[in-house]
Structures are given as structure tokens and as C-alpha cells.
């Protein structure tokens, strides 16, 4: 029965079906939530009412009230990501290339990485105030270590053959840095990109949640203060969607910038 054109269309139609199933799953989760709270199996005071949550989300977007908050969170995320990555690359390159500095600083780096850095948020709030700066600072401490360790590893694991070959081609130390270490480290940075963007986002939201005057985390904090659980859930829904969008943007950027790397045989979706 299956014609040639039918089997060619087979793949996209399978994809479309998968997408439908995915949406159905989401709808089912909301329906289950609705059923459980509407029938009173779960108290709606603690678990919210999905219809109210969705209406709240709709109101935020239709009135435009959410946009300034989202913008604040986005700016914090982007700044924390950019600054954390920059610092992480610089420190990773430096320590990766200097054995002495690496062995001197090793225990301190381990200690700093082991510390739950969220506890720094109050200190940053005192130092930098309740504005954007304290959230960016928190995000930086989260992003820095991910990027740092990846770059450090990347520098250490540059193929010795490639290194020897490039040296034989006449590269100076600076040229080695620019043509070998930096691109190699960049590929490691990109492999950690999803994690580090996510961490920048976590830093922004947690920072807002712990004390702020704007941002999606601030909306959640406000709602929680008045036991408005529906708004808390609405905030979570918005944050999740936002995080997904960020992740999507990262995937796009990655594809453009890492054309030289072999694609994984099974493409991740």
C-alpha cells in the first residue's frame, strides 16, 4: 500500500504525530491537576487552580504587565552569563597554561566550587543593593565555575599532536593561544553552554526571589507574601517557558558556531 512518496512523507508525519502526543501529554497533566484540585482531593489553597493560573498568565501577557519583569530577568541572565563566561575563559586559560598557578590555587578553587553559592546572595544584596547588580553577581558565581572547569579541562586536553604540529608550523606562543588553545577551549565552553545559561537564569531568579524590586522572581515573591498560590504557579509557568526559549536560542547559536564539529549521529531534540 505504501507508495514511495508515502514513505517519504512518513518521517514528517511521524514527527507531527509525536508533537501532537507531546501537547496531549501537557494537556493531560493540566487536566489531571484541574481534576484533583476541583474535586478537592488536593486543597486548591496549596496547589492552586490551573484555570486561574492560566488566566493569570494570559492577563500578564495581554496587559503587558509581565514584559518589564521579564526584561529585567533576561538582562540579569544575559549579563551574568556574559561576564561569568568571560571571567571563566580567562581564568581557565590562565590556570590551564600555568601549572604553578594551578597547583597553588587548586584547593581554593575546589573550596569555592564546593560552597553553596546561593548563600552569597544576602552578601551581594548588601554590597550591590536590591537592583540588577546583586543578581548578576550571584549569576556570575554560578556560571564562572562551570565555564572555568570546562576551559581548564579543554586547555589540558588539547591534542598533543595538534599542538606539536602547530608548533612545527612556526606558531609563536601567542599564536598557539589564539589558534589552538582558544578554539579548543571554546568548544568546551559550548558543550557547557546549556548548563551555564541555565545557571545564569537560576542566579537571576534566585537573586530576585531573595530580595528585589523587579523581575519574575520578584512577582513570585510578592504573590507568596499574600499566599496567592495561583500567581506563584503562573510565575513558575512563565519562567519554565522562558527557560525553554533560552535553551532553544542556545541550541541555535551552538549550531552556527560549531560547524566544525561532527554532529552527533542521533540528533537531540
Amino acid at each position: 500500500m505504501r507508495s514511495a512518496s508515502g514513505s517519504r512523507n512518513g518521517r514528517p508525519s511521524r514527527r507531527a504525530r509525536l508533537a501532537v502526543y507531546r501537547v496531549l501529554l501537557l494537556v493531560a497533566v493540566f487536566a489531571g491537576w484541574y481534576a484533583l484540585t476541583a474535586t478537592g482531593v488536593l486543597p486548591s489553597f496549596f496547589f492552586g487552580r490551573p484555570l486561574v493560573v492560566l488566566r493569570r498568565v494570559w492577563e500578564w501577557f495581554s496587559s503587558g504587565k509581565i514584559y518589564p519583569h521579564l526584561a529585567v530577568t533576561l538582562v540579569e541572565t544575559v549579563l551574568a552569563f556574559a561576564a561569568g563566561t568571560l571571567l571563566g575563559v580567562a581564568a581557565g586559560l590562565w590556570l590551564g597554561l600555568s601549572r604553578t598557578a594551578a597547583s597553588l590555587l587548586d584547593p581554593y578553587i575546589k573550596a569555592a566550587n564546593a560552597m553553596p553559592r546561593v548563600i552569597l546572595a544576602p552578601i551581594f544584596a548588601v554590597w550591590f543593593g536590591l537592583g540588577i547588580a546583586s543578581k548578576v553577581a550571584l549569576g556570575i558565581t554560578l556560571v564562572f565555575f562551570i565555564v572555568f572547569f570546562n576551559v581548564f579541562q579543554g586547555v589540558r586536553e588539547v591534542s598533543p599532536v595538534v599542538l606539536a604540529s602547530v608548533r612545527m608550523l612556526g606558531a609563536t606562543r601567542r599564536q598557539l593561544l589564539r589558534h589552538v588553545y582558544l578554539p579548543s577551549a571554546t568548544s568546551w565552553v559550548f558543550s557547557s553552554l546549556h548548563t551555564s545559561v541555565g545557571m545564569a537564569f537560576v542566579g537571576a531568579v534566585v537573586g530576585e526571589y531573595l530580595g528585589s524590586a523587579a523581575g519574575v522572581g520578584y512577582l513570585i515573591l510578592q504573590a507568596e507574601g499574600t499566599f496567592d498560590i495561583d500567581t506563584v504557579f503562573a510565575g513558575i509557568v512563565v519562567l519554565t517557558a522562558f527557560a525553554l526559549l533560552l535553551d532553544f536560542a542556545v541550541t541555535r547559536a551552538e549550531r552556527r558556531l560549531l560547524t566544525w564539529r561532527p554532529r552527533a549521529p542521533a540528533e537531540r531534540t
Partner: protein
Amino acid sequence: MTPAPAGAAPVLALDHVGVEWPGATAGAPPYVAVDDVSLSVARGEFVSVVGPTGCGKSTLLNVAAGLLAPTSGDVLVGGERLSGLNRRAGYLFQADALMPWRNARENVEAGLIFAGATRDEARERAEQWLRRVGLSGFGDRYPHELSGGMRKRVGLAQVLILQPEILLMDEPFSALDVQTRQLMENELLDLWSAERRSVVFITHDLEEAIALSDRIVLLSAGPATRPIGEFAIDLPRPRDVAEIRLTPRFLELHGRIWAALRSEVLKAYAVSQRLA
């Protein structure tokens, strides 16, 4: 070992070179990888260094390249003592040495860019060299998009574009299938006869060595590798590596050299069995 041809100093000479690695534990005797090797390569000469696996052939090549300082002895380049990297040599490695983040053309350009050439100039000459190694139109491909043989060609172009006086090659074709390998060997001979660089070619494949070289240096099994014989290969040029293997003279040379190499291969095998 061989006196330099009358007149000119050899392009490359190893003078009583020894290489030792520190012992595995403190107080353990050092491991002698290479023991008292002397070797000279004349201008335009194609010399193959043949020895059983694990005999320190690559170590010797790294010394000649200046990537590794010998524990004793000297490396002379054009009669001068080498310190640091050997700037007159190009090195084709056994493993893939292309920068994976650059496409074929950018890899070939690299040496020129390092030397301060302008983008346009480097690009033009890289395209020329890609053509010469049969890869015109593949400049935009990244190494992972090329086959093993193509990557070797890019590597060859990358090294030859700098026109090194000495070409050091460390089993460059060992990872290729037989057909591709013979193709590459013939191409190498073509490029070499056009440019007449000196070549030091390391291999464990005696047939490959005879087909390509002017002279073969046999190394003993490790540890403490040293040369145990030299054979002039007087086969006529130009050669076709596949056809020349069938000539009587080739078989005669092969028989003679193999007789000398055989006992070393057996020794190396015995050592590997003892370690296993």
C-alpha cells in the same frame, strides 16, 4: 655513520644521539630509549628508518624535529647545532594533526599566517597546494568531513606549503587502506621529485621503505635502539610503488634487508611477550 657527501654539510645529522627517560620510581635505572645513534641525510635524499614496533623510531624523529632534546649527543641542521625547534623541518605526524576547528584551506594556510603572510596571499597559495594534492574544491570541508586519505593530503599540503628543507614523516600512511596508501606513496614521490626536499621517512613496513627510498637505515629492537645496518636502494626512478614491488631487484633487496631485520623483529616480539 655515513660520511656526508663531499662538498656540502648534510642537511640533517644526528651525532651520537641518546635519549633516556627517568626511571618509573625514584632510584630505578633510567630507561634508555635511544642509544648512540648517528645518522646523516644529504640534500635531496630520501632516507627511510625502519625498525620493529616500539623501537623508538618516533623518539628519534622528535629529536630531529627539536620537539625533544636528546639526553646526549647533538642534532646538526645544515652543519649548525640545533637548539629549540628545527625551523627548517616540516613534520608529518602519524596521528591526525589537523586543527579540527579549521577547514582544509585554513589548515593549509596556517603556517603562512603564522609567518605573517596576508590573508589573500595565504589563501591563494593554499588553494594552489590543495590543487597539487588533488583536493581543489575541498577547501571548505572540515577535517571530520574528509576521509583519512584526504586528511593526510591536507596534512602534506600544510607541511609542504612552507617549503621545508627537511621533511620528517612518522609512519604517515600507516592508518590508510592499502589502495589509498599506494596512491599516497606515489603522490609523495611525485611531490618529492618535483621539489627535491630531504625526507626522513619512518616506517615499520619494509616494502614501503624500499619502494620509496634512496637509503634505508635499520634500527635494532628497543630498548637502547641503535642503527644496525644501512642499505642503499639503487632502484631506478621515477618509480611506481605498486609496480616496483614486482621487479627482481626489489625482491633481492627485500630478501637481504629482511634477513637483517628479522632477528630484531623476533627480539622485539620476545620483549613484548615477556612484558605481556
